[in-house]
Amino acid sequence: MTFLSPDFHRLYLQAGQRMAMGDHHGAILLLKQALALDPEHAAAHALLALNLLVGNRVHAATVEAQRAVELDPEASLAHRALGLAEFYRRRWAPAEEHLMRAISLDPIDAGNLCSLAEIYVAQGRRAEARATLEKARNLEPNDPDVLADLGELDLAEGNLADAEARSREALEQSPDHAAALVVLGHVHLRKKDSESAKDHAAWVLRDYPNHRGALHLLAAIKAHQSPVIGVWWRWNTWMQTLPDARSMLVLLGGFALYRTVTILAEDAAYVPIVEYGWLAIVAYTWIGPMIFKRMLTKELATIRLRPDF
């Protein structure tokens, strides 16, 4: 067994605490220091991979997770990290395979089941996701993460009452649970109560200023309030769900269609209309993000000025 220095232990534990607090950047810096002391520590590589994934540094996370699996093929955390890294790369089969392996190595860790459910949701396999989350719930009936994930699934299926009930259950266990607050915020937004939704986003941002889910909720609120700019936001959100190559095909397909029409019908009376329409789309997609960003920044500034922030 390798001897681990007290410094390594301290850094590793602090990194875990930072991660739990949502300070992923802090956790990464500590793990880098820890790995400088012991580059062969599988769990540190796996933890680093999980933190990198939060910042969408997928390539680096994959490398770290692969290293973790290489160093300790029997470590559940390493397989979970690699499974999630593959998930971020939209490689469903290996993602599922590694998470199944993680579950078989540590069958009582509800977190592994939640991660597997996330993969099912992304593939639209909602029944399997629900069954997996129910298994997690049987293991940890009061785990707020599991309850919030169930709430998120209910929200995706349009069951607002269930989503609200699950997120409230999660908040009973952990009153500041970020994911549960975000789900509840979305429930309020769907019920057209933008102010309550905004309060929930602000609540999360007070503790985690860069929480992706809360920022997404805030953006959804702004998009809801301004339908013209909201169209751009919905379009952009949809484009971001596509892999690079596919989003490129959508954009190039639009341009090719426009040019095909103008080439085939160069003398037709409607061609100038098509050209002006294309120009309007270009201008809108150029200006839209700038206006939206300004609106969101203003909203964030307002939230940060609130006395309870």
Partner: protein
């Protein structure tokens, strides 16, 4: 604090370069490609990749290489179509579709390189790297491209523009 902070390097972290002072947001290169042309965007993507110490430089260079090959294939295609129009009386619009294919190839190269380089650029910026504003070069390219491309044959001009 441990003195070993910099000993462990995460693979996507940008490496410092002597050209860091020339780094720009890849968005300006994309725009430079659209307004100026491939003559500007191609070399600029390479320069920027070195400047920001992009961890994916090899991949970016590979894409650029394949992109140039695709553009040369487009050049041959358009040349061939133009010959068909001249010699066999094909509809002129066929050439315009050939040109469209070349345009789409260039846009695809810009888009892929921009997306790839943006990830490294965000990290470069995050770690406090110096960033220049590339707007002037991108917009200025619109005005100078005529002079830059003038010495080239029309068919080559189409690829470089």
């Amino acid at each position: 604090m441990s003195g070993a902070t910099h000993d462990y390097r995460i693979i996507d972290e940008p490496q410092p370069s002597k050209l860091s002072h020339l780094a720009v947001n890849p968005f300006w290169i994309l725009l430079g490609g659209m307004l100026g042309g491939f003559w500007l965007a191609g070399p600029w993507f390479v320069l920027n990749s070195i400047a920001i110490g992009s961890a994916t430089r090899r991949k970016e260079l590979e894409w650029l290489f394949y992109g140039v090959l695709a553009l040369l294939a487009g050049l041959v295609l358009v040349n061939h179509l133009a010959w068909r129009v001249d010699e066999q009386g094909w509809d002129l619009r066929v050439v315009r579709f050939g040109v469209l294919a070349v345009q789409l190839t260039k846009l695809a190269i810009y888009y892929l390189l921009h997306n790839q380089q943006s990830r490294s650029f965000q990290l470069y910026e995050y770690f406090g790297g110096l960033v220049r504003n590339g707007a002037l070069v991108a917009i200025g390219a619109t005005f100078v491209k005529g002079y830059v491309l003038a010495p080239f044959a029309p068919i080559l001009r189409m690829v470089l523009s």
